[in-house]
């Protein structure tokens, strides 16, 4: 299969030489699509190398997934030839911390905020700002894209909040 895609194979080859830890973790799924499982301790180096040395200077988006015991973030970055590199980073759900990529990709601010709001990721180094895209009164600790989240949990939390507010008002009068 690798032989069918000379341009893509060249890219995976260069990456595997630079980062021996990526050996066997790179997969060309079709023309212009490469997926990679990146160990967390070399993640920043890999994405930095791809941007600065290999021309992957455009971030399409970041996808966040709940994969059981872990959260998975997929960073989709592309070059001017239309090749998209999909870098997968897994972090434990108990401590879902990842470093920000905004110094490399300024346009990733909203994508990282989305990971925080929707999946409860903690992005280290992301500048303070309003959450996105959930509303201000969204209950703390609820992450709608986690598999155990159900819409009823929101309804319940909001009803409880309303109840507590009414009680507080009743207590004052």
């Amino acid at each position: 299969m690798e032989g069918d895609f000379p341009v893509e194979s060249d890219i995976t080859g260069r990456l595997a030489i630079k980062f021996p830890l990526l050996e066997g973790k790179l997969q060309i799924t079709r023309e212009r699509r490469i997926f990679a499982d990146v160990p967390s301790d070399i993640f920043q180096d890999v994405i930095g190398f791809l941007k600065n040395e290999m021309g992957f200077d455009h971030i399409c988006t970041i996808t966040g997934l709940d994969v059981g015991e872990e959260l998975q973030f997929i960073y989709h970055i592309s070059d001017k030839h239309g090749i998209v590199m999909n870098l997968k980073l897994n972090v434990p759900k108990a401590d879902p911390v990842a470093g920000t990529i905004t110094p490399l990709f300024n346009g990733a601010v909203f994508y990282e905020r989305e990971l925080e709001s929707m999946l409860g990721a903690k992005i280290k180094g992301l500048p303070d700002g309003r959450r996105y895209p959930l509303f201000d009164g969204w209950p703390e600790g609820q992450y709608p894209l986690r598999k155990d989240w159900k819409p009823e949990m929101l309804t319940e939390a909001l009803a409880q909040k309303e109840q507590a507010k009414k009680q507080a008002e009743g207590g004052r009068s």
Binding site: T29, R30, R32, R33, F35, D57, H58, I59, C60, T61, T63, G64, L65, I74, H76, S78, K80, H81, G82, I83, V84, N86, F105, N106, G107, A108, V109, F110, Y111, R130, R131, Y132, P133, L134, F135, P144, L145, W149, P151
Partner: protein, 401 residues
């Protein structure tokens, strides 16, 4: 000079969709701008995980009221890649045809909005009148003006007839004439040029730094277009130019869009000329196997990105959507800062943020008698209930409008 902070939005007459801008003003100039988003969040990604792939096509189509075909196609491409389905060439051409017709309606719509935002309402009325030509063609080809639902997994749901091809070609001729006029207007009309030039500046460097997309990026000289760089549907078979401009302001964004219209007409003519015979839908496995795919699509507003992960069941494990407006909004504060308060509406409009425009009355013409009747919303509602009742489904009383 003292500084005043004013909120614009989330609901504001100058905005066509909810977003909140906090502007710090120094006199008439904007010293700093802050954007807050999320007021239109509807939980569609989560909802996709609860529905089948077929149901998701129709849900995803409703992500956007203007580029509905863009989202549906982008999603379906990912699903087809996971399923290993190669769609027939004719189906791929028809998808591309609807895609370019959609771009035409979207850019004409934008031109009208831009005209309106700068007080040039004649331009608004002209371009929206002309847009009706392409809306009628879309309705004729797909049965609907906005949510065309032409896609299905493995191809398209409706074929095109020779008679319809003639109508599309006639419409394209008419639209091309009008677009030539708009290009003349945009390049010669001094009031228009004066109003738009140097407004909402975004340099090439900043366009790249903020990773903007579509006409917003191309107007700053970023030579990027998914149709050429990462070809999908039948774009690899078509000859077209990627329009860029170096004005790097609202004027540049206007030029890029009107010139892109001409490229779309060129592509539509090629599609209809080359359109091969054959089936319009391929056989698709009953179950989508486990897998993942990333799909990109050049929507009228820029790069649309969908990621789908399948787990082998009838529902997807995860559907991720990144609409182009989100990529462009990161740069909007930068474009507003340093400019005048009065320029804010046109600068925001110039990235062409998305809003829905589907409510309208329908004029029915009886082709036998020639008699016409107008249906209002309630009559249309009753008509749809009767239509289903005659086919054995009773929705009466399930929801009143």
């Amino acid at each position: 000079m003292s500084r005043i902070s004013i909120p614009i939005g989330p609901q504001h007459p100058a905005l066509k969709e909810p977003a909140a801008f906090t502007l710090l003003l120094e006199g008439e100039k904007v010293a700093a701008a802050n954007v807050a988003l999320g007021y239109n969040h509807r939980g569609i990604e989560k909802a996709c995980e609860e529905r089948s792939y077929i149901q998701d096509i129709y849900l995803i189509e409703r992500v956007c009221g203007i580029c509905s075909h863009s989202h549906a196609t982008c999603f379906i491409q990912a699903v087809e890649e996971i399923a290993g389905v190669q769609i027939p060439v004719r189906a791929s051409y028809l998808r591309t045809l609807i895609a370019e017709l959609e771009r035409v309606h979207s850019h004409l719509l934008w031109l009208g909005v831009a005209g309106h935002e700068i007080g040039f309402d004649t331009l608004f009325m002209y371009s929206w009148r002309d847009r009706e030509i392409v809306m009628d063609i879309l309705a004729q080809l797909t049965g609907n003006r906005v949510n065309y639902s032409i896609n299905t997994i493995g191809g398209v749901r409706r074929d095109i007839t020779a008679l319809q091809i003639d109508d599309v070609l006639k419409a394209v001729d008419a639209l091309e004439e009008r677009t030539k006029y708009y290009i003349e207007l945009a390049t010669q009309e001094q009031t228009l040029i004066g109003r738009l030039i140097n407004v909402g500046r975004l340099s090439l460097e900043d366009a790249l730094r903020f990773d903007t997309t579509g006409p917003t990026a191309r107007a700053a000289g970023v030579d990027r277009d998914v149709r050429r760089d990462d070809p999908y549907a039948s774009y690899a078979d078509l000859e077209f130019s990627v329009i860029t401009d170096d004005h790097a302001d609202v004027y540049g964004r206007t030029l890029v869009r009107v010139k892109e219209l001409m490229e779309s007409y060129k592509m539509i003519r090629q599609i209809l000329k080359k359109l091969p015979d054959g089936p319009i839908v391929a056989k698709v496995p009953r179950r989508i196997p486990a897998g993942e795919a990333l799909s990109r699509y050049e929507a009228p507003r820029g790069e649309d990105v969908h990621y789908v992960r399948a787990n082998g069941t009838e529902k997807p494990e995860r559907v991720k959507v990144r609409a182009p407006t989100l990529a462009n909004l990161t740069a909007i504060s930068h474009m507003i800062e340093g400019g005048y308060l009065a320029d804010v509406p046109i600068v925001i409009a110039a990235i062409d943020p998305c809003f829905s425009c589907t409510d309208r009355a329908i004029l029915l013409k009886n082709s036998g008698t020639g008699s016409e009747s107008v249906l209002d919303w309630q009559m249309l509602h009753d008509y749809s209930i009767d239509w289903y009742r005659n086919r054995g489904l009773d929705f009466a009383g399930k929801g009143k409008v």
